[in-house]
Amino acid sequence: MAVASISVNESPLVLYALRRADDALILGHRLSEWCGHAPMMEEDMALANMGLDLIGQARELYSYAGKVEGAGNDEDRLAYLRDVRQYRNLLLVEQPNGDFARTIIRQFLYSAFADLYWREMMTSPDATLAAIAAKSEKESAYHLRHSSEWVIRLGDGTAESHRRAQEALDDLWAFTGELFHADDSDRSLIADGVVIDPERLRSAWSATINNVVQTATLTLPARDWMQKGGRTGHHSEHLGHLLSELQSLQRSFPGATW
């Protein structure tokens, strides 16, 4: 018998932490889906390792969200007992793995942002967020280096790897606009100087993307229409399927532990 979803009182700080935690958990889960399926042993370990880093970051952020909310929701309840519409992650991170090129392009687009983002957040006056940022930025540096190297290898590789990488870039590009999303809730934190305005990172992010994409002989899509919705709980059909797997154990056996 499944358990009901919890409700969360989303103050700006709670919502902020949940958005970042959901990004990390969902992308971490997607990477973990590669475990045992990657094209070579080294990549099996690399993708699982990065997934582990992201899930670790998610745990810290969920714990903090629960603590700030103060309603008894811990990391497990927040990860496992919210329904799909309560998830606040970027649409980018819930997109299916597809082939290896698609996973790498997704990872690259996210990591290029996360690396800049966490580095800037290290100076947050919120001690917990600053501490999480300081751990995360070291890890995102590896993730960015790894995915950048692969983007170059695939784009500047064979005709087939180039075609697949370009196709993934064309398809996923529309999900990158959300990286710079800020609404009234976030803006109150930005105004107080607690979190940074992601818009500030746009030119540095574009420079990294352009540099790697160019080296990879790939082409950035010309169209600039951007999809949105993830930050407000309007997701693609893929997230529900992902959550049904991620949450099945806790929903079926509430409070289960190893």
Binding site: E42, A127, A134
Partner: protein, 167 residues
């Protein structure tokens, strides 16, 4: 008669000596003291409080380490210590002791280079092979058998080896 202060400081010494013996479950030649994971031990009103820090956000060894600390202290008759994990300041390989670096190398893992921190995006670094000492080595994967290690290969003796990566 001992004062509360001296007995507290004695208790702290005993607790530290016990906790410092706890080995990393993933790299058993290293103790958590060698790694710099054991951050602090305090005694507050007779209660022992141990502070540890994770090497990586998702390090699966942390729960095991906390449990091992409790067991090690229990063997010294110290019951129910509080083990707290802190993130700040973020752990760095620069905290690894010289003794720890030597033990790692003897175990066949190349120790982390000093002066951790960010490298250039595609920067190269030189890592000596822990088996033959040659510096003609190459990285196979930045991600090794555990979060803290990368997989390298020596082009001189042809052996693959783990490198405890700079962090």
């Amino acid at each position: 008669m001992v004062t509360a202060a001296t007995s507290d400081s004695n208790l702290r010494k005993v607790a530290w000596a016990a906790a410092a013996q706890v080995a990393d479950p993933e790299i058993p030649v290293l103790t958590i003291e060698d790694l710099g994971v054991l951050r602090d031990i305090a005694v507050v009103d007779g209660q022992v409080e141990v502070t540890i820090t994770p090497t990586y956000s998702g390090c699966p060894a942390m729960n095991m380490i906390a449990l091992e600390i409790e067991l090690a202290l229990a063997r010294e008759g110290i019951a129910k210590p509080v083990v707290t994990t802190v993130l700040s300041p973020a752990w760095t390989t620069d905290w690894m002791s010289d003794e720890g670096r030597r033990k790692l190398k003897d175990y066949g893992i190349a120790p982390p280079q000093r002066g951790g921190g960010r490298r250039a995006l595609f920067g190269e670094q030189q890592v000596a092979c822990p088996q033959c000492g040659a510096i003609d080595t190459e990285v196979l994967s930045e991600f090794g058998s555990t979060s803290c290690k990368a997989l390298w290969r020596c082009k001189s003796c042809r052996e693959p080896f783990d490198y405890f990566k700079c962090h």
